[in-house]
């Protein structure tokens, strides 16, 4: 009983140790870069680590919700060992279609909103599904096909935007027809803030819960994780791997279709040339950071949003380029990947030593090879 508790505590400790170490490493590397460049590291950290104003908090939550959806979309693929780099193209084409559908307003009020959301998910799923189909029918790596589809999506959206956009005389901006205000998703205020938290945050939370439940508590989720960990084992236990690949790409794409919608329905109300780009790639980093875990991705998304929001005024307040945050984010992601590996090895060695002690041999059975594969080897 007590040993079980102890094992739990050890696991929890290891779980927290990895991100803490990664953050420390990022702090150290960033400070080093700042010092070498001769910039005031102390002032930079004062600004970044200061408690945000209410309106900045709102911005962090809003940006975080967008990153969160992107992270979940990528994580669905990751769980299946699929590398969906195409979230970027999927969310842009989906947001564009949603903007057009909602702007045309064939249905009244929130029916229009719901219809646009469904359309966005369908388009995102379809776009990702192409890569899934190519993978199962022609063996094309989804990494390659999704990168290509990103480029196709960019071109297609730009072309269609030109066809469908409304542009005021003399304006340098073009965009889709503005969504009628009765189809906007209202936000809710935070005390002291002049701006509002996107209402879409609730939908993001629902997506997160659904993700967690489906992956961890359903037969489908089990099959998905099993296929991700060992395709041959999954086949042996009767999983139709091809079907799983297509379905998980469709799901990943459907969630990717939601990524741009908080912005569309809560802020921009139109898809124009300045619609935020690059969200899909941020999702990859955030899914890695959150270890594909629904809660982990919340933390990762908020961390990225927090760093970017806090760094924005750096140039004005401290005179240091806010791009220092790019370095910080890059180091955090790299460090997380490395540190988790190190911690996992350390953990499995601890476990082996414990097992050895329990068996009374006193030695650390199997130690020396290390590696995360050891557990599986020991079990077979």
């Amino acid at each position: 009983m007590s040993s079980a508790l102890q094992a739990r505590l050890t696991r929890l400790g290891l779980l927290l140790a990895a991100p803490a170490l990664a953050l420390l490493l990022a702090y150290a590397v960033t400070t080093l870069v700042l010092e070498i460049a001769g910039d005031p590291a102390g002032d930079v950290w004062d600004q970044i680590l200061s408690w945000p104003e209410p309106r900045n908090l709102v911005n962090i939550i809003n940006a975080g919700s967008v990153y969160y959806l992107s992270g979940i979309a990528v994580a669905i693929g990751f769980r299946m060992n699929l590398f969906n780099i195409g979230v970027d193209g999927q969310y842009r084409i989906a947001a564009f279609v949603a903007a057009v559908v909602a702007g045309e307003a064939w249905l009244p009020g929130y029916l229009n909103t719901a219809f646009a959301i469904v359309a966005a998910m369908a388009v995102g799923a379809l776009w990702a599904g192409i890569a899934g189909l190519l993978r199962v029918t022609r063996g094309v790596s989804e990494v390659i096909s999704t990168i290509m589809l990103n480029a196709v999506s960019t071109g297609l959206v730009a072309y269609l935007l030109r066809k469908l956009a409304v542009r005021e005389e003399g304006s340098n901006d073009i965009g889709t027809r503005e969504i009628p205000s009765d189809s906007w998703i209202g936000g809710f205020p935070l005390p002291g803030a002049s701006n509002e938290v996107y209402g879409f945050v609730i939908i993001a939370a629902v997506v997160g819960i659904a993700y967690s439940v489906v992956i961890n508590r359903t037969r489908f989720g089990f099959d998905l994780r099993a296929t991700g960990q060992s395709e041959t084992a999954a086949v042996a236990s009767g999983v139709d791997v091809k079907r799983m690949i297509v379905i998980s790409m469709l799901l990943s794409g459907a969630v990717a279709g939601l990524v741009g919608l908080p912005i569309l329905f809560g802020d921009a109300y139109t898809y124009g040339v300045t619609f935020q780009s690059g969200l899909g790639f941020a999702g990859i980093a955030i899914a890695l950071l959150g270890r594909n875990n629904a809660i982990g991705i919340v933390l990762g998304a908020l961390l990225f949003a927090f760093l970017e929001e806090q760094a924005n005024p750096l140039q004005i307040v401290v005179g240091v380029s806010p791009q220092i945050v790019d370095i910080m984010q890059g180091v955090i992601v790299l460090a997380v990947v490395i540190v988790y590996e190190v911690v996992a090895r350390f953990g499995s060695r601890l476990e082996q030593r414990q097992a050895g002690r329990d068996l009374g041999t006193g030695g650390d059975a199997g130690a020396g090879r290390g590696g995360p594969g050891d557990k599986e080897v020991a079990r077979t």
């Binding site: 040339v273 690059g278 005024p313 791009q323 790019d326």
Partner: protein
Amino acid sequence: MRRTSQLVVVAGMSLALAAGCGSRTDTEEDDTGSNGETGETGDNGDKCVEPGDMTIGMAYDVGGRGDQSFNDSAAAGMDQAACEFGFNTEEGEAADGEPESAREERLRTFADAEIDPIIAVGFAYAPSVAKVAEEYPDSNFVLIDSADATGDNITNVLFAEEQGSFLVGAAAAMKSETDQIGFVGGVNVPLINKFEAGYVAGAEAVNPEIEVDVQYLTEPPDFSGFGDPAKGRTASQGMFDGGADIVYQAAGGSGAGVFEAAAASDGMAIGVDSDQYVTADPSVQDVILTSMLKRIDIAVYDYLSEVDAGEIPTGEQVYDLSVDGVGYSTSGGFVDDITDDLDDYKQQIIDGEIEVPTEPAS
């Protein structure tokens, strides 16, 4: 300097994949002796007036100070005014792929620090200026390249880019020996389409048979086409290889690549926004036939001098050929023999005899 900035680009790119953020050459300062230190203008040289208690804020577009083109032109106007009238300056710069809230927040940071006026460089700031100007009715805002945000405390600065582009298009057609010229646009947006439309119209006015290759580096919302010299180089190299001998670039920071390609292929290139014979890398100076001047510097300087005089202008300020708000440069002396013809076209445009299109024909 060059090598370091390339190193930064490479490092930035490898991080970009991990961090999901655009990489930019933001460390690249221009080496023309203009003040590289950000935010500390006004104490440089003995001619400058001692800075008083007034601070100007400038929010740059993607690329920022050091792009040798669009943003630098705005910076030059501010630097000059700061020096002459004794203003302090503060600067902030947009990142590729940033959310709308980041632009708003940049403007609010200025306004909260009682920095006034606040100059927003580029049409991407239109929605954020509209919003923040309303929140801070006592602050003054300048919005360059857009009339989409209007208000009592907003000044809209607009340029007739198509008119200046018409003149350099005419120059290109007169100077071309192969009767084939090129246009490289940074991003396929209406603003850059104006450059293309004017350029093609000018070239065809001189030689109706001329062939004009047109290429845009990226499609929106990907704005990396304004800051990626490698893309500029590849696109223009294709044109030079295909027989074009003069290429006009309206591509911000990517233009440096067009100059490199021109130098490598014995072709010529036309600069944009700033007088790039002066601002570009000295190694490519000799290929810069002329530059289409978009005098953001003059517009910013004009505005600030009026601010200094105590009257703050609002509403639309249009800079076209008639006020020399756009034009062409003669540095390098490559177009000295055709300035009479070009000035003739210029007069016809001012008089309204030639109406320059603002949208490409096709």
